[in-house]
């Protein structure tokens, strides 16, 4: 058995202003200073901390947001002077996909790398679109992996990137003629990708490379940024090199990890050949925007010997339609692509990496169930550093933004100061991935699946809303959502 993969997390509190959900309102002028004050009895010492904070001349002028909204003080105050309200700033964070709750849980996971645990049952909507219309399976009886979570057995989260031969071929005299496969094995099915809105900040790229090295995975970097990465981390870097630049970036290609990304383009197979000439064992991955016709393109490229694809969806996990409008969610796109490749008979030769819209650990598991081999974390890494997904005038990478162009919009952003401290930034990224990894183990353990490789495309171990609704409620009469009254 290989050494158990373990992510070393370090408690690293965020240095950014953390918006909280609940704020207390206190009509202090009516306070009777009675002997039954509820404030000292708060289970979480919220009032005491706030009082100290407010008296500290050096403390920042911002609320602490420690209240858990248990209403004990609100309901107990002898004169009814306390009340709670929801912080509008909290509700304004993010957008309909990167919800305030997702942003908040990401901050917490990046603090210490722990799985978010809470009491009381599930609180959210019954279902949603995209990944929120999938439930993962569990297994009621003993399966060999059962003990994995609490430590006695091993659940593997490793995946391989690279062209895998479907079968070995031998010459008549018995020599193997299939060239040996060169695979990049990473111990968790996530690579660290460029955020959907690139912040022009080399520090962020360096932190990503450092985090990738500590995690044992790889980080995708623009060649420009990769040139600044110290030698110690270069082995964990996947540079994006455009076809024209291959010659110019030859040292980088030689010294970085075995994977190189080439943006999809007309001469992609020639470019791939050029890279392989420079570095014979390299794994060329094609970076492409996920589109409705991606499956066709993959089949065509696979015919030309390209086997690793990085499919970039938009920040909400949707493909980009021909007219630029958002299309299907990656869950549907992946099922189609995976099915197509299976039908063509060479799915196992191919590696699919999916990015965009992977916001939570569960998205990683669900994308893999839908047919991806692994995913790439992008925006989530920014959120770990305090990003609130304000999308404040950023250019989106998916629009083909050229970082060098004068139109590229790259506003001032708190991320830049976070990225200034490389270790702080890298630790928070490592923590987040640590929390994701533990959650993936929970999901795999519940299913009784021993390794994440076997999860790929296992749609039978998931419950899809459209299908189960038909099975469970198909025989109910339908009524329009607005009740018809006589």
């Amino acid at each position: 058995m290989p050494d158990r993969y373990h992510i070393h997390t370090t408690i690293t509190p965020g240095r950014f202003y953390r918006v909280g959900k609940f704020g207390g309102i206190d009509w202090r002028e009516d306070c009777a200073r009675c002997s039954e004050c509820v404030k000292p009895r708060c289970n979480y010492e919220v009032h005491e901390h706030e009082a100290l904070h407010n008296r500290d001349p050096r403390a920042a002028l911002r609320p602490l947001y420690e209240c858990k909204a248990c209403f004990s003080c609100v309901q107990g105050c002898t004169k009814g002077l306390l009340s709670l309200s929801i912080n509008p700033e909290y509700l304004e964070m993010g957008d309909e996909y990167w919800t305030p709750d997702i942003i908040h849980t990401t901050w917490v996971q990046a603090d210490a790398g722990k799985i978010p645990v809470s009491g009381a049952g599930y609180r959210g909507p019954f279902h949603g679109t995209g990944f929120d219309s999938i439930w993962t399976d569990m297994s009621e009886i003993v399966r060999p992996t059962r003990d994995g979570i609490h430590g006695r057995e091993y659940i593997s989260t490793s995946v391989d990137i690279g062209p895998k031969p479907m079968r070995l071929e031998f010459s008549p005299d018995g020599r193997m003629i299939t060239p040996p496969a060169h695979l990049l094995e990473i111990p968790l099915p996530v690579i660290l990708d460029i955020p959907a809105w690139p912040v022009r900040e080399t520090g962020l790229a360096l932190a990503r490379a450092a985090a990738a090295r500590r995690l044992g995975t790889v980080a995708v970097l623009f060649a420009r940024d990769a040139a600044a990465v110290p030698e110690s981390d270069l082995g964990s870097v996947v540079p994006i090199v455009s076809a024209e630049d291959i010659e110019k970036r030859r040292d980088l290609i030689r010294n970085s990890s075995s994977m190189i990304q080439l943006p999809d383009g007309p001469e992609i197979d020639a470019a791939a050949a050029e890279v392989r000439k420079l570095k014979p064992r390299s794994i060329v991955s094609v970076r492409m925007t996920l589109r409705p016709d991606t499956a066709d393109r993959l089949v065509a490229l696979a015919g030309k010997g390209l086997k690793v694809f990085h499919l970039c969806a938009d920040p909400h996990g949707r493909e980009r339609g021909g007219d630029g409008t958002p299309g299907r969610h990656i869950k549907d796109a992946l099922r189609e692509i995976h099915g197509r490749l299976v039908g063509e008979g060479f799915r196992d030769e191919i590696t699919l990496i999916t990015s965009g819209g992977i916001a939570l650990a569960e998205h990683m598991a669900k994308a893999i169930i839908c047919g991806s081999d692994l995913v790439a974390a992008d925006t989530a890494l920014l959120v770990a550093l305090g990003c609130r997904v304000c999308l404040n005038a950023h250019s989106l990478l998916i629009d083909g933004a050229d970082l060098g162009s004068p139109e590229f919009r790259d506003p001032e952003c708190p991320i830049k100061s976070a990225a200034g401290d490389l270790h702080y930034a890298a630790r928070r990224m490592v923590n987040l991935m640590g929390a994701w990894h533990s959650q993936l183990i929970e999901v795999l353990g519940a299913m009784g699946i021993r390794e994440v490789r076997r999860l790929r495309g296992e749609v039978g171990r998931a419950i899809f809303r459209e299908e189960i609704e038909k099975e469970a409620f198909g025989d109910l009469d339908r009524m329009p959502m607005e009740p018809v009254t006589a």
Binding site: G121, F126, I134, R478, V484
Partner: protein, 538 residues
């Protein structure tokens, strides 16, 4: 002389001539509805009534308000602080006979209570929490301004209605608003009883008066007052409560006849004696809120009392593994049930499972292993502490599992031989009725009881000293926050309100009993947002 199994059986039978199996004197609890107002000084309502400083204390508001929001008791100089949780809001303001318009100096204002907006979530909306509090306080349906049937989750039960609710035949509740349901007071009552043993074996037939019993909550995860209140209320309603996995506190003994002993994967606190004294034993394979994952009691909650009962060391976190490590097949499963049946020859056996994709197969397997009750625990149920990822994503919600299993058991021609119980996301009486119409025989509730006791769903049950409201804590100071008598009354009231609503619905449907509602999906409809109202009107 050696004792044979046959001897043991005979001895057991002689010992258990009474209806129950306990040799401890059993207490009765009166089934009486009495008011049990909020145990906090400031009850929270949907609306807030502000009285401004220019009030001249004329007392007019106290005269006009028929809901008791305002009061100026004899001899008082000032009108006392508005009891605004009783206020029904705009529905009153429209009448013109309201305090706001009648106040001579315009000192009153009614608005939505910001506190209420902080309460709740899509599953348990603020209205639903307040409505459940109202039912626990009064024992009856809440007034029209509180939605007490549906949450705001946008799926499952919240998308299903009884047809009479939407075809315009039901009078507008806002108009016909009286706290009590008139339906429950007139004519013969529909029968809400539920038969638990359908196997036709030689074990006792047990009938409960309501199609509801209480879910397992272990000593350790909730306070002893919570456990006892649940047991006492279910004793009053001639139903059951369950120990959960954490042993059998001695203080439960007076209610043995209404307690289900749970045997779960950690086997914490399970002894032959605790299996013998009850009428139902429940095997817990999995829990809906954390399906596929084991139980976990944090070290802080493992106080010396808890540890003693569980046979563990205080202060250590306690894990119960998942699943039973002796069960690899239906045959192994049967051996487990046979073991229990041997230890207690007069008990019924329930098997609690969560809801994997093959839940239908699991249910059939449990039947062939000898279960009397198959208890499906859906994935949106409650828990003391579980990973968020599990609560949201793993296994299917109960709304899907019930029809799936019901149809499968029917196709196997064994549906009439087993009792199917649904839990994990049954929040309201309407949820329970819908689950039954989808194919369950009855339901198990947990979170609803916690809400009735004053839970605000702050989700902090597991941290530090535990529940700040004294419901799910073992810290003595916190436990003292909730008196036992009050808690018992709240739960008795809750069940009364539920039962009134069940009878109301059964009457609307023209059914004589809750059992005749089972599987009647023809009474239900699904609210589909892809259908346009206009298309239907055409």
């Amino acid at each position: 002389m050696t004792t044979t199994i046959a001897d043991l059986k005979r001895q057991n039978n002689e010992r258990y001539q009474r209806p129950g199996n306990s040799d401890y004197p059993q207490e009765t609890v009166e089934r009486i509805v009495r008011p049990a107002p909020d145990r906090y000084r400031n009850a929270i309502g949907k609306f807030k009534v502000d009285r401004l400083a220019n009030c001249i204390a004329c007392g007019r508001c106290a005269e006009v308000c028929s809901y008791g929001v305002h009061a100026k008791p004899e001899g008082y100089k000032y009108t006392i602080r508005p009891q605004d949780y009783r206020c029904i809001g705009p529905a009153c303001l429209e009448t013109g006979q309201d305090c706001v318009s009648q106040c001579p100096v315009h000192a009153l204002r009614v608005r939505l209570n910001p506190n209420a907006e902080c309460l709740g979530d899509p599953r348990w909306s603020s209205d639903l929490v307040l409505a459940t509090w109202h039912m626990a306080e009064t024992g009856h349906r809440p007034p029209a301004h509180l939605e007490y049937r549906l949450g705001e989750s946008g799926g499952g039960f919240d998308r299903i209605r009884f047809k009479f609710e939407v075809d315009g035949s039901e009078p507008d509740r806002a108009l016909a608003d009286k706290p009590e349901d008139p339906a429950s007071n007139s004519g013969p009552e529909a029968d809400t009883g539920l038969e638990l043993n359908r196997r036709g074996d030689n074990r006792p037939r047990i009938r409960i008066d309501i199609p509801v019993y209480g879910g397992g909550m272990s000593f350790g995860s909730v306070s002893i007052h919570t456990i006892l209140a649940k047991a006492r209320a279910m004793t009053a309603w001639n139903s059951f409560t369950c120990t959960g996995e954490g042993g059998y506190p001695d203080r439960l003994k007076p209610y043995d006849d209404h307690v289900i002993t749970q045997v779960a994967t950690g086997l914490f606190g399970v002894r032959e004696e605790t299996i013998r004294r009850v009428r139902i034993v429940e095997f817990k394979y999995a829990q809906g809120a954390k399906p596929g994952l084991g139980g976990h009691l944090l070290g802080d909650k493992n106080t010396p009392d808890v540890a003693q009962m569980r046979g563990a060391v205080a202060g250590n976190a306690l894990f119960s593994p998942f699943p039973f490590h002796s069960v690899y097949s239906v045959e192994d499963h049967k051996k487990h049930l046979d073991w229990i049946k041997e230890v207690n020859p007069r008990c019924l056996v329930s098997v609690k499972v969560s809801t994997p994709t093959d839940v239908d197969m699991v249910a059939v397997g449990s039947f062939y292993a000898g279960a009397h009750i198959i208890h499906l625990d859906g994935s949106y149920g409650g828990t003391g502490a579980a990973p968020d990822i599990a609560k949201k994503n793993i296994a299917m919600p109960i709304e899907y599992a019930v029809p799936k299993v019901h149809k499968f058991l029917s196709a196997e021609s064994i549906r009439e031989k087993v009792t199917l119980i649904a839990s994990g996301g049954i929040r309201t009486a309407y949820d329970a009725l819908k689950a039954i119409a989808l194919g369950a025989d009855g339901v198990v509730i947990g979170t609803t009881e916690m809400i009735a006791l004053g839970c605000v769903r702050c989700s902090t049950c597991e941290s530090g000293r535990g529940c700040p409201r004294g419901i799910a804590s073992t810290d003595p100071e916190m436990v003292a926050l909730m008196p036992l008598d009050w808690a018992t009354q709240r739960l008795i009231n809750l069940q009364n309100a539920w039962r009134e609503q069940m009878i109301y619905v059964l009457k609307k449907l023209g059914l004589p009993s809750i059992q005749s509602l089972r599987g009647r999906t023809d009474f239900l409809c699904y609210m589909d947002d892809s259908i346009n109202t206009k298309d239907v009107a055409k």
